[in-house]
């Protein structure tokens, strides 16, 4: 169950899954956080189980960042309880959280763009060989391991020597996720991994979130996009003004209800009104079929 064992052999993860299937790895009970006299978070309960994706949704300023900062060890909670494996904890640094197997993948804090993929993968935890004066990087082993781990997550790169900056934003997120998984993460916190990505790249990242879940990790997926959340989520928590507005299993809620909770009733009504107006214009002016055939026709003309 300790993260050390899982850290070096990814396979051990599978063994640990059955025994704590129903016990949450990370649990918040009525937790809250006050910065001086400002209460950023209050009465939040959250459970993260292995092989489950827990989505935390909320608009800007809803308290999502505060929540992950508590779980990832950057801040301490000031009220309620924070339990890991059933025991109350209080992290003082992100390192403490990492030692418990709680890894955070930040949106842009993950990689060094000019360094090769494999060096990025092992950065800060390099494999070495040889005695001290000539202790050197075990490059072959690192490359092989990085390649294997990335393939396990379904990421196939033909050249691990390429600077990671030449990968797309989605691929970089995926490398960061694979890295966290390899280094023994049992709980993966993803801070708005799809916020800066296009539609297709978001899809790629969602796929790897699912892959991480299938490998037995508990995932905390922070987002403000209910559509992304609903695609992979098992449990949904909606934060609003620092408190928990909704906490529901997937079976208890539909996408529409989720979106409704995200936006808030009145705001959503206004939004729907606006959207329907916009869509009305769109449908009349640019029907879908026309949209599809137009570029093909021009391509055909150019060819002939």
């Amino acid at each position: 169950m300790t993260d050390n064992g899982t850290g070096t052999h990814g396979a051990v993860l599978q063994d640990t899954v059955p025994e704590d299937e129903d016990r949450p790895i990370v649990e918040l009970r009525n937790a809250g956080k006050a910065y001086g006299n400002i209460r950023a978070l209050h009465g939040v309960s959250l459970q993260v189980r292995p092989s489950q994706v827990t989505c935390v949704l909320g608009d800007n300023g809803a308290g999502k960042s505060t929540l992950i900062k508590i779980v990832s060890g950057l801040h301490q909670h000031t009220e309620g309880e924070f339990l890991v494996d059933g025991a109350p904890v209080r992290f003082s640094t992100p390192r403490d959280a990492l030692d418990k197997g709680i890894a955070t993948v930040y949106q842009d804090l993950a990689t060094v763009p000019l360094m090769p993929v494999w060096r990025n993968f092992f950065l800060g935890s390099e494999m070495t060989k040889g005695p001290w004066p000539v202790r050197r990087l075990d490059i072959e082993k690192m490359k092989k391991t990085a390649d294997e781990e990335l393939r396990n997550m379904g990421i196939v790169l033909d050249n691990l020597e390429q600077p990671i900056g030449t990968l797309s934003g989605g691929q970089r997120q995926c490398v960061a996720i694979a890295r966290a998984v390899y280094f023994g993460a049992r709980v993966l916190i993803l801070d708005e991994p799809t916020a800066a990505l296009g539609v297709k790249q978001s899809g790629v990242v969602l796929k790897y979130i699912a892959a991480a879940r299938d490998r037995g990790l508990g995932v905390i997926f922070i987002t403000h996009n209910p559509h992304h959340a609903y695609m992979v989520g098992d449990h949904f928590s909606v934060l609003r003004l620092g408190t928990m507005e909704l906490s529901a299993e997937r079976s208890q809620i539909t996408l529409e209800e989720l979106t409704n909770h995200m936006a808030g009733g009145a705001e959503l009504a206004a939004l729907k009104h606006e959207l329907s107006q916009v869509r009305g214009v769109d449908v009349e002016e640019l029907p879908e079929e026309k949209d599809l055939t137009a570029p093909v026709a021009t391509a055909g003309e150019a060819a002939s």
């Binding site: 060094v112 050197r136 990087l137 050249n159």
Partner: protein
């Protein structure tokens, strides 16, 4: 007539017209392009060009002893350029590196002379002072978050003033006293400033140090954890910290490494000339930085090599001596260097852009 009819069959062709089938995978680039993307290849070609140019323009260069002179000149720049280049890859500058050489030499010289002690005492003291200056630079940069340009500009001015003032205060002169008669001088001279005879050509020991240090620096940079950290703190400090790289340690130790380089070159100068001129060293820091940049190190950090600066320093030495051997007015040296620097930077820029393009 035929045009309107053509439009119809075209509609059935969509599956064929799909130029994008990459889905994120890169194609293998040609070997030549991949080679050019290496930081040291551009400068290697440049150094070769300069060498060939002077072989043709200045016949005396073809002589072995002339080559030894060129290499000696290159080595005194090159030894210092190595740590400066590592620091640059680590994302920082050191503008005080030129005067720090003199500071180190002055410390060793004056301490040993004034206290009438073995010169090795001065040598050790100088090392401690150089490390302390490096530590101060690094600590200030890391703790304040100020640009290293500003911090080391401050150190540069401080050291420049202290060098002159303290020397005048202690010796009553702008230069230190001759230490060649003191205990341990001959021994120290052997270590720092001796000459070897190789096939009838006298080669200064600094040339060997230079090449050995370059080999060690390359190994450290590419094959050790520490080297990995250097690239990481220069490439993206915050990411590096987030994944557990000791950023503070790496940066401060790099500044201290520049101190070690300054100490070594300072000792060489001291035991070559027996005395030290306290006002020297100003402007040298820019030569080191220029040699590192010509050597393919990225000014903003995160990219470069230790071999590139070797060729960069060689280009400087070659031009410096080549002009003399060619019988030209040495006043042109700096102008020539400036042109070379701009040329090298442009070539580097072009090479990197065309080679790293996806």
């Amino acid at each position: 007539m035929g045009m309107t009819q053509h439009a119809d069959p075209a509609v059935t062709t969509p599956p064929a017209s799909g130029p994008e089938q990459t889905d994120g995978r890169t194609a293998e680039r040609p070997l030549a392009v991949r080679l050019l993307a290496r930081p040291e290849v551009g400068v290697f070609l440049g150094a070769a060009a300069v060498y060939v140019f002077f072989l043709i323009a200045a016949p005396p260069v073809r002589d072995g002893s002339s080559m030894a002179t060129v290499l000696y000149q290159s080595s005194t720049i090159g030894i210092m350029t190595l740590p400066v280049a590592l620091l640059m890859i680590g994302g920082e500058f050191d503008l005080s590196s030129g005067v720090a050489v003199i500071t180190s030499a002055l410390t060793a010289s004056m301490l040993a002379y004034q206290l009438s002690m073995n010169v090795w005492v001065g040598v050790i003291a100088a090392l401690i002072v150089s490390l302390a200056v490096g530590f101060f630079n690094g600590w200030m940069v890391v703790k304040t978050g100020l640009p290293s340009f500003l911090v080391t500009l401050g150190t540069f001015l401080i050291l420049q003033g202290v060098n002159l003032a303290v020397t005048k205060l202690v010796t009553g002169n702008v230069a230190t006293d001759d230490i060649s008669n003191m205990d341990g001088f001959d021994q120290a001279k052997k270590v720092f400033a001796s000459t070897f005879d190789i096939g009838g050509v006298n080669v200064k020991i600094t040339v060997f140090y230079w090449l050995v240090f370059a080999a060690i620096a390359t190994w450290v940079l590419l094959r050790t954890k520490y080297g990995n950290w250097i690239f990481a703190v220069g490439g993206n400090k915050d990411s590096a910290r987030a994944v557990g790289v000791p950023v503070t340690f790496t940066k401060i130790s790099l500044f201290m490494l520049v101190g070690v380089g300054a100490w070594f070159v300072g000792m060489h100068q001291l035991f070559t000339f027996n005395t030290v001129q306290s006002g020297e060293g100003v402007g040298q820091e820019l030569i080191f930085i220029a040699a590192a940049v010509i050597g393919g190190c990225l000014l903003t950090g995160g990219f470069g090599s230790a071999i590139g600066p070797v060729f960069g320093a060689f280009m400087f030495g070659m031009v410096n001596q080549g002009i003399v051997f060619a019988g030209w007015n040495p006043d042109w040296f700096k102008a020539f260097l400036g042109v070379m620097l701009l040329g090298a930077v442009l070539i580097n820029l072009w090479v990197r852009q065309s080679a790293t393009r996806r």
